[in-house]
């Protein structure tokens, strides 16, 4: 019995590893849908709306890739993943790419054998507290009870931060954002910590958002971006350059409204190369000429996606800040289309 259970687990793992072979681009084309891993629900980044349609900042990346590869932004099968299941889902081939505010770290890149194709949101870990607590700095949190999602970099940063400042805390491990929100609102924890963008998104759903404050300390760098498996560079390129196309489009002033007009002749050779009216970039990446045009036309450029889902006009209300284009003093920067 002991042996058979042991080997049974090996079997499952073996089949999972077998499915992770190369050729994802061909698989996606043959299947006709893109399997995209997202969160189980974080308003603004990835959450189903009242009609069950997935919407959000991360979802737009999935849809842009589907539009570029399959010509149809709705040909996406969204797979909700938790902090704990996301890497297994990607490594086993259950999903083709993961767009789930996942932090790019050394060990995930190198040891877990994933390829981060870029950064779509520069974030940092923050603290959300009720204003009634009368705390104005994270350094005053000695002895506080902190809700933190388990299995995330957040959990490790939290331990590091309190250790470095020589103060103590009690962690309350939670599984999903919804659970954290419930525990926080019930007062079972004094503080909720996760990426500042996530905190802003969570606070936006509260009944009285004004009663809660984000502390000024940002205790970590959290570059969030989509990732794919190691060892399939062609597929990695497709996702990487789709993201870059959205970023470049904003830089060059290409929007979902003017994309067809720009394609027919803007005089800017980089726009022409991006939109496939000049050169053979599409062919090089294994797609047709107007792959990037489809992504931009259906989803809008990076700035449009930001403004529509999490920008200052939305309830989430995030300022561009670090996520502005490099030309506006931010960090968002795409290598050239050349």
């Amino acid at each position: 019995m002991k042996k058979s259970v042991f080997l049974g687990a090996l079997t499952v793992a073996g089949m999972a590893a077998g499915a992770a072979a190369a050729g994802t681009l061909d698989d996606v084309k043959a299947r006709g849908t893109l399997n995209c891993g997202v969160t189980t629900g974080l308003v603004g980044f990835a959450a189903p709306d009242a009609n069950g349609e997935w919407n959000g900042f991360d979802v737009a990346i999935c849809r842009a890739v589907a539009a570029a590869v399959l010509g149809d932004p709705t040909a996406v099968e969204f797979v909700p993943t938790t902090g704990k299941t996301r890497f297994t889902a990607l490594a086993s081939g259950e999903i083709d790419m993961l767009a789930r505010n996942t932090t790019w770290t050394f060990s995930r890149d190198v040891d877990l054998k994933f390829t981060f194709v870029g950064v779509n949101y520069y974030d940092g870990q923050g603290f959300l507290v009720p204003k009634a607590l009368g705390v104005s700095s994270a350094k005053e949190l000695d002895g506080a009870t902190v809700c933190v999602q388990t299995g995330t970099t957040t959990e490790l940063n939290l331990a590091d931060y309190f250790r470095a400042n020589n103060i103590s805390y009690e962690p309350v491990p939670i599984e999903t954002n919804a659970e954290g929100q419930q525990q926080y609102l019930a007062g079972a924890c004094d503080v909720y910590t996760t990426d500042a963008s996530g905190l802003a998104a969570t606070r936006a759903t509260f009944e009285a958002p004004g009663d809660h404050a984000l502390l000024p300390e940002i205790i970590s760098k959290e570059p969030l971006g989509p990732l794919v498996r190691h060892g399939d560079d062609e597929w990695g390129d497709v996702v990487r350059w789709t993201l870059n196309a959205l970023i470049t489009a904003e830089e060059l002033g290409v929007t979902s409204a003017n994309v067809s007009e720009m394609a027919s002749g803007s005089g800017n050779p980089e726009v022409a190369r991006l939109l496939g009216t000049e050169g053979t970039l599409g062919e090089m990446i294994g797609l047709d000429a107007d792959w990037a045009m489809r992504a931009i036309a259906t989803q809008g450029n990076f700035g449009e996606i930001f403004a529509k889902n999490i920008g200052e006009e939305t309830p989430i209300g995030l300022a561009r800040g670090l996520n502005a284009q490099w030309t506006n003093g931010g960090l968002i920067y795409s290598p050239p289309f050349r």
Binding site: T11, A17, S107, G143, T150, Y169, V172, P173, G187, A188
Partner: protein
């Protein structure tokens, strides 16, 4: 005259493996075993090849590296710079803690409910029937979440104890019930407390010795000594006397609200309580059914015979019915204990850091060593289950019918 000769000595021929019913079943079992081994070897080999192709390997080195995460509920010292291995041990201890607590309380609930369900009192027996049916038929995960959610929603946060006119106050100024857990006073061992503890242990031994003596006296001479109050006296009086003689060396560290939380005393976290309580009442309902089955398996004539001898109902149950019923109750009870231990792995639903939460949760996710962690988990649960089974079977052998 005929002479009887021995039948020809059976010589084994290869064809008998198929033709002879004595050997045929062994042949097929051997073939099936060989096929099974080949199949598993193929799958295992496939796994190793795929892992190698993906550039991964099976390695347990991660157990020695710093874990980097904190654990709230722990029985031994732990710090986020300790290793993943130590974090796994914390998890193991937490699993064992909730399993042991759960087994004890589930047994108490189960025996009470099982006996009461057979009560002649209509209301009591129906209430117990409702309890058993409700808890047996709803999954334990739901119970864990319900109890935890109710706890966090109903009990006040520590904030409510603050201020000049707090909305909540501590029970007897000793216990604080909050939605983060229950804070209890902790004993502080002063000089001379060793003597008190030694006296206490001695009186426990004394109680056991007295009861054994009384039982032997009852069986050998039929004289019935009182059990209840002398036990209580032996249990309490010497310890209390020594406590005051030594000058009250044991004092209490009462939890007090400092900063964000209660400090001092012992904290029993809300996740532990929710998990413990849910496992206890859920499994208690199953144990109640086992107990009922055991009692009903004892012939009614036994009750009537004991009654005819003039025994009172409580004593009939304790001396006549339950000892016989135990033979029926113990074997299914073993599997209920195993269920509690295995169901404790649902701990993560309420954030209790058991072995599934530490090794199978955070460690697995932070290191990405899924196969290694899952293998260790399986090894752990298997060891625990087999140990419980072995110990309980030893106990079972002591209560089985002795055939002479």
């Amino acid at each position: 005259m005929t002479s009887l000769t021995d039948p020809p000595a059976g010589s084994f021929r290869l064809s008998m493996l198929l033709n002879d019913t004595r050997y045929r079943s062994y042949t097929f079992q051997a073939i099936a075993l060989a096929v099974l081994i080949v199949a598993f070897a193929y799958l295992g080999n496939n796994l190793l090849n795929n892992l190698r192709a993906a550039g991964l390997n099976i390695s347990y080195d991660f157990l020695g590296t710093p874990a980097g995460y904190d654990i709230d509920q722990r029985l031994i010292e732990y710090d986020n710079q300790d290793t993943h291995g130590r974090a796994a041990i914390i998890g193991i201890l937490n699993t064992l803690l909730v399993a042991v607590l759960g087994c004890i309380t589930a047994t108490i609930f189960g025996v009470l409910a099982g006996v009461l369900r057979l009560s002649n009192n209509w209301l009591v027996s129906k209430l117990m029937a409702v309890y058993v049916e409700i808890f047996r038929n709803i999954p334990v995960l739901i119970w864990i979440i319900i109890i935890y959610t109710v706890m966090t929603a109903v009990l006040p946060p520590p904030n409510a104890f603050r201020g000049d006119t707090p909305t909540s106050s501590m029970l007897f100024d000793l216990f604080a019930f909050t939605n983060r857990g229950i804070y209890l006073p902790a004993p502080v061992w002063g000089p001379g407390s060793g003597v008190v503890v030694a006296t206490f242990i001695a009186s426990v031994i004394g109680v056991v010795a007295y009861r054994r003596y009384a039982t032997n006296l009852l069986y050998s001479t039929g004289r019935l000594l009182p059990m209840g109050w002398p036990s209580l006296v032996i249990f309490l009086v010497p310890s209390i006397l020594v406590y005051f003689v030594m000058g009250q060396p044991i004092s209490l560290d009462v939890p007090a609200l400092k900063g964000f939380n209660f400090q001092g005393g012992i904290k029993v976290g809300a996740p532990l309580i929710a998990l413990w309580f849910a496992l206890s009442i859920y499994t208690g309902a199953f144990i109640a059914e086992n107990v009922r089955a055991g009692i009903q398996a004892v012939s009614k004539g036994q009750t009537e015979a004991a009654g005819a001898l003039g025994l009172r109902p409580g004593r009939i149950m304790n001396l006549v019915i339950l000892p016989q019923a135990l033979r029926v109750i113990i074997p299914p009870l073993i599997s209920q204990y195993l269920n509690i231990t295995k169901n404790s792995s649902l701990a993560i639903a309420v954030g209790y850091m058991d072995i599934t939460g530490t090794l199978g949760g955070i460690t697995l996710n932070q290191t990405g060593r899924a196969i290694e962690c899952v293998l260790l988990l399986m090894l752990f649960y298997l060891t625990i289950s087999l140990s419980i089974s072995a110990i309980m079977n030893v106990y079972n052998n002591t209560v089985t019918l002795k055939e002479r």
